[in-house]
């Protein structure tokens, strides 16, 4: 916040501001193909018995796909810090919900309940 000593109306030196960036169809196509490949991969991986790793792999692939979509399709890679923080805040709160609640369930002395 220190580099924000004065505000300029067009937000040029604002850390919350990022130059508008046009992503090209080439990038989009690469992303598109990658996503399809990962989709195939996740289906294949599901039929391989990896024990406990199955859901981990499935989720890892889903997360990679999600990150790719967020970065390129949703332009976050080219966005201001503020937008990046916003995205992070969402996942942070979601993680808080999950971990804090789950920690209750797994630390119960009485199994399911």
């Amino acid at each position: 916040m220190t580099d924000e000593h004065y505000h300029d109306p067009s937000n040029v030196v604002n850390p919350e501001h990022a130059e508008h960036h046009i992503v090209t169809p080439v990038t989009y196509s690469i992303v598109f193909v990658t996503l399809l490949i990962f989709t195939g991969l996740t289906v294949v991986a599901a039929y391989v018995d990896m024990g406990i790793l199955n859901p981990v792999v499935a989720l890892a692939i889903a997360s990679i796909k999600a990150v790719i979509v967020i970065l390129f399709f949703m332009h976050v890679k080219y966005q201001s810090k503020l937008i990046k923080m916003t995205v992070a805040a969402g996942f942070f709160t979601f993680a808080a919900l999950i971990t804090m609640t789950l920690s209750d369930y797994i630390s119960r002395a009485w199994g399911l309940w």
């Binding site: 009485w110 199994g111 399911l112 309940w113």
Partner: protein, 347 residues
Amino acid sequence: MHISPVLWQFLVKWLNASALFPREASTIAPYADALYFFLLLITVVGLTVVGTLVFGFAIRYRKEKHPVATQVEGSTLLEATWTIIPLALFLICFVWGALLYFRIYNPPTNAMNIYVVGKQWMWKAEHQGGQHEINALHVPIGRPVQLTMISQDVFHSFSVPDFRIKREVIPGRYSTVWFQATTPGTYHLFCTQYCGTNHSQMIGEVTAMTPDDFQKWLQASTSGMSLAQNGERLFASMGCNACHNGTASARGPNLSGVYGSKLQLTNGSEVLVNDAYLRDAILNPSEHITAGYSPIMPTYQGQVSEDGLIDLVEYIKGLQSNYRIQQTLVTSQADQTAPTTPTGVKP
């Protein structure tokens, strides 16, 4: 807190007499009250500090006296002071509160067990000897009593303010609380979790009696059959003994001595057999298959009431040898009352 015992007793006496303070009728009550007074104290101190500051400044620097304000930026030292002191006080409250919490929710091992079933809108208490009470609970003084509680429908909450205890009574799971009454008398029993229309009528009385009186009361109100005996009948009538007959070739695991033991399950986990486990194993058997057995037991969901489950659990708890199961086989055929079970003392 280091108030002199005399002063403390005087204070408590005075408060007890003043109807602004609940009676201290259990061993836990003084502990709860001590924390309460500590919290009150810091509240009063905090309030006084804030009040003095606000009123002091307001009077001293009112416009008539102090027409022009002097601007002050702030002070790191002061900020630190009023961060650290409240934080320290709150942390004391936390530790103290936690200690009290575990005191209230961890029953001593020698507690006498009474079952409580809550339903819209009444309390049913079941003593080991089979004495049933509705909206009432008789307990001896000077002896720790553990309540194993369950609800048939919605959340309820079992509260005896004069004992300073309370615990949610939950559908589908046993919850426990314990207390040791100190003074004979009758005390309010409230349902404190909102449970529908007659929530405010789900009340009763806890009667604490001297051990002698309690024995007399037990004798006078016995219904003839203890919980375990009822359980034994159920065990037979539902055909449990067909599989759990304790023989080597039995299709179900041997139940003698199972209570309190560690069981190896087919899914590899190891569990401690307690009331909750037994109840769950009757209702959801296929999720609790003892290693070496096949999942053939049908579920009894919807076929046994919570009271029946309590009877069964109590029966299985008392099974210390195969002899009893074989007896049950005989009993079920002969339909006689079985010999009394040993009073269930928690292992």
